[in-house]
Symmetry: D2
Subunit: 351 residues, 4 copies
């Protein structure tokens, strides 16, 4: 019970289903005196809006955010910030053909087992749409971080098996996939278009980088910074893996290879990914996140209905061919929320 | 501040440094009426004891646990269970040569940045020794799970780049590395011995499997079962990556490949790893964990002392060549603790 | 930071200021399958509406609640229930004369010290208006309790020094003050009218009774049922004291007088107020709550402005002469929220 | 489940039963760099030791504390501080005659209902002995407060119906009851002696004062400073009521009487008790706590055994005639723990 809140001091609670009247977030614990208006949040929401790339869902949410509390005369007051987003285009009738069918790769079977309730309307609370509330809260977290010179950004490291080998930051802003390698970006886009034509979908790997993080964030031993980051990112429905720094590759190294040597100017490499013993070192924090392909596909799949009878299903409706790039601001949001929380927690140490 | 507690209803708090007088755990929220004695916990501790394989640290802790509360006449009472382990062999003098030196790959630099305090004695709270308390608590969690027919076990999937391709469960118990592929196990052991002779260390991948988990565990949206598992496992100092089911491989699949089809007899594959939308499906839960090589190595490394002066360091003292196999019961403990918590949380749903 | 959430499994987060666009609550952890609609919540809100007695504030909020999530086809789904109440009549201009003045007995001085921010509009987050969100959440909690046969009600035990000596439950519904002693009720109403004419206000004592509470609720040792009830009730702005059962009177008894004897039919008295060692006994839970007089009064008071200059203040605007009876559903809500949480927590014990 | 932890940033977990091998506390979140040794904690424990006044229990615990972690070279490190107290004199055989009998006023009936387990040995977790762990943790909290110039002390305001009218701080240290009114102190001691001779016990009222508390502590709206203080104090087994400032007396005042006027030099009275809208004002915090008489009395009482058969019980064994004065350091501890937590939380606000 009660799993919709994250954070200790900077605490975010989200609510809302994909096809209910609205969804939103309450951000409690935001420090007072930060400049914040609806446009700040809107910019984040616009980045996760469908329809930005060819492969994206044609659903048009318009996602207008309202700030209902916690801001007075353009500044945060220290009290909870309520963020509301109406679901303007929740066409539940699209989901009638799914009323009695378990969709492979989706949460409806597990939810029914959990609650004994079946809300077949497009995924309910398990829908990717829920992440809009996270993104809105992330915009507030980013304000907290900006005040300390911390910057979080995500990009496409891999899509459909194609890897961005070359990383030129300036390139990210030049393609819809936010891929820093323009040549790979073009191939990814083609592959995505192809999959979509086949009624299929693709997975990918997102990389999140945190610049300007001060050393000392993270708490021994369960609330380590990497533990909280991993938990927060894995809480995104589509994520099946998280790694920090060298990650799984570190498992194949020797100690003499994976250790980052120290010199008078600091660390001489960053295989740790900016976190040692769960505490930030001051280097860039580097995280990679494995996203599975979107499970709703037009291709026919074998499944059963609620009575257990075999059914062949081709999911109709509005769906993206890949969670990338819409997932990028969601990953940024989750990382920003965790960092804002740990930034405030570290202040309490009094150093 | 205050990051040494995990869980909502089944709540574990650990304390203790590697070279202090003792370490321990408080397990609050254990249901009443479970048979529990010190031997139950001791068996778990014995499995993480050094010295079981050639490559392990020769330090002999003897790790005797005392149960100080929460058990009456051989049964849990429902009140907090305090578990105490004395540090009998904490030879701090071994660490004198590290007094002023930052060890590459270790937490001492980050801790100093965080707290302004330098406890150079073998890692303090960041030491792998802290995991003894987790393992003791995990033994209690396993009792809770056993009552519901849930079984958790971990084995070596990969070590030093060698992968256990073949998985014969019976084989695990036949080698020290708990590797289900006997041929791979032999090669791993050789590689480990070699690395040790070079004063180096190796990393590896642990796989954890949960059998008999009922469907419905896990809470939308931040306290998803996979989110909590990922956070709990990433909180182990050595862990740099966590993946569920197909994990990072899912990022390279198409939706038609990664979705698990459903038939009248249930799921027809398990690429989800037993968790969909953050909630258990009733299938086996499958998790893989990337462990970096132990950073304390005998080989010379470039580092600096606290004044920033370059130093060449060869770490002396008692160290394992690989966290595997000692990390296996630690992984089992963390998974068991998370599952016990979610099992109790699901009871509250009242279904 | 982040103090707007209460509860472990049944978890309520409120947000909103008295003169912002709206206020609301998120109720996370409500069990699935309970019948719930907006009318259920509206009935609770109507009971705290101003204007029900002569002495109440003439402000007309109309307080219409919207349920934005967590309910599907008239039943709770197990996911967060978002409750929204727009502030329709937030006439901020009434507060212009308070812009620079600290109001005696109010939170504005303390808030400024805390946050360095001055939101002078009618109390902001510290306003009694914030309790509307609690009442809305309380309506949901009451649904949870009703399913277990638990009933919570509050009444006026004392007002302006007049005590309801006689307690005839049926009488409560016959007067606006919900006072069970009709003769006392009449005197209270007169006194209240008199105070209001003088531009003054009165305090009182609310009694809350819980019927049908099963034994076993409450957790040793900090989350005792009486501890959580006391904290929850003291969190209402107007409350300055809480007592359980014989309360302060118990401090004047001997052990032989305060102990409740047990007979074959159970307890033979209820000086414990239904809670022993922090755990419910199955008897009625009896709590009394001391409410201070409303600090906003028309009579002239000595105070200072933000620059520290002495000012004589007579607070204009819409104010009740006493928090009673509007506080009654607020007290019921807080008690219901705490009980719902402990009911779910006790389910996890598995007995 | 899991109610033995209090606090958000300064977090205390206690464990242990009255007649188990030991009890203790884990203090997580204590800032680094504070001087702390066992003697600091011992002094607090000595103040709650039985046998200090004629009326106290002759049981001699000797209560020696061990600090097992979190302190290095005499300074706190920022990691959890484990405090251990062995039960040296736990003569369980004294309790054989209680094996099957419910003691009036005690928690054994409620515990049996909750857990289905009967630990008849002197109250188990519900025993007053549990408070030793709180007192040990309180000693650490007091260190945190001392660094900010905050001082907490408790004294006897009322005992057996006799009130300390006159408050001369210097007098407290001159009598065992820590009563500031020497004349009242003498009468209280006589009354207590008399009750003890009758095999009876007395209740009383403790007053706790906090000096030097900065303004701004406490969080809107549920984690108000007074809410957390009330909850923490009510969590002491013996406490049946808590009031802040004028408390229940405020319920009998008019607004013009209860409001504290403000002048250029600050507040001109302190009926608020140092807290407005749940946030400290910088004035002294004043709390009064109602303690019921100790339920274990030698006089015969009517009760039942576990089978429901009527029994006449005269509790044998070692018992105090009144929780005062032993409860005084317990009250100080709980108040100190809450304040330390809020002090750290306010640091995170960054002002």
């Amino acid at each position: 019970m009660a799993g919709s809140t994250i954070g200790v001091l900077f605490r975010v609670t989200t609510w809302g289903e994909s096809h209910g009247p609205a969804l939103g977030a309450v951000v409690d614990g935001c420090p007072p005196g930060l400049a914040l208006d609806e446009q700040d949040v809107q910019e984040w929401l616009d980045r996760r809006r469908p329809g930005r790339v060819r492969s994206s869902s044609p659903r048009r949410e318009d996602d207008r955010v309202e700030i209902l509390s916690g801001v007075f005369e353009g500044k945060t007051t220290g009290t909870p910030i309520a963020l509301l987003i109406r679901n303007r285009d929740a066409a539940s009738h699209d989901y009638e053909h799914l009323r009695d069918v378990f969709r492979p790769g989706h949460g409806d079977y597990a939810y029914l087992q959990k609650y004994g309730i079946r809300d077949y309307r497009g995924g309910g609370r398990a829908s990717g749409r829920e992440t809009a509330a996270r993104v809105a809260a992330g915009a507030v977290a980013a304000k907290v971080l900006a005040g300390s010179g911390i910057r979080v950004f995500a990009f496409t490291r891999e899509l459909g098996g194609i890897t961005a080998a070359d990383t030129r930051p300036g390139e990210m802003d030049r393609n819809d996939l936010r891929c820093p390698d323009p040549e790979a970006a073009a191939r990814m886009a083609d592959l995505l278009e192809e999959a979509r034509k086949e009624g299929d979908s693709l997975g990918g790997v997102v990389e999140v980088v945190v610049q300007g993080c001060p050393p000392g964030l993270g708490e021994p031993v369960f609330d380590k910074l990497d533990a909280d980051l991993a938990g927060a990112l894995m809480s995104i429905g589509t994520v099946k893996g998280v790694e920090i720094g060298a990650g799984f590759e570190a498992a194949r190294m020797k100690g003499s290879e994976s250790n980052d040597a120290l010199g008078p100017d600091g660390f001489q490499s960053n295989r740790a990914g900016g976190i040692l013993a769960g505490i930030s070192t001051g280097q860039d924090i580097v995280i990679r996140v494995a996203c599975k392909p979107i499970p709703s596909i037009g291709r026919e799949q074998q499944t059963v209905d609620v009575s257990g009878k075999p059914v062949v299903l081709a999911v109709r409706g509005r769906h993206d061919g890949c969670v990338i790039p819409r997932i990028l601001p969601v990953c940024e949001a989750m990382v920003s929320i965790v960092l804002a929380d740990h930034l405030l927690r570290q202040r309490a140490v009094g150093r």
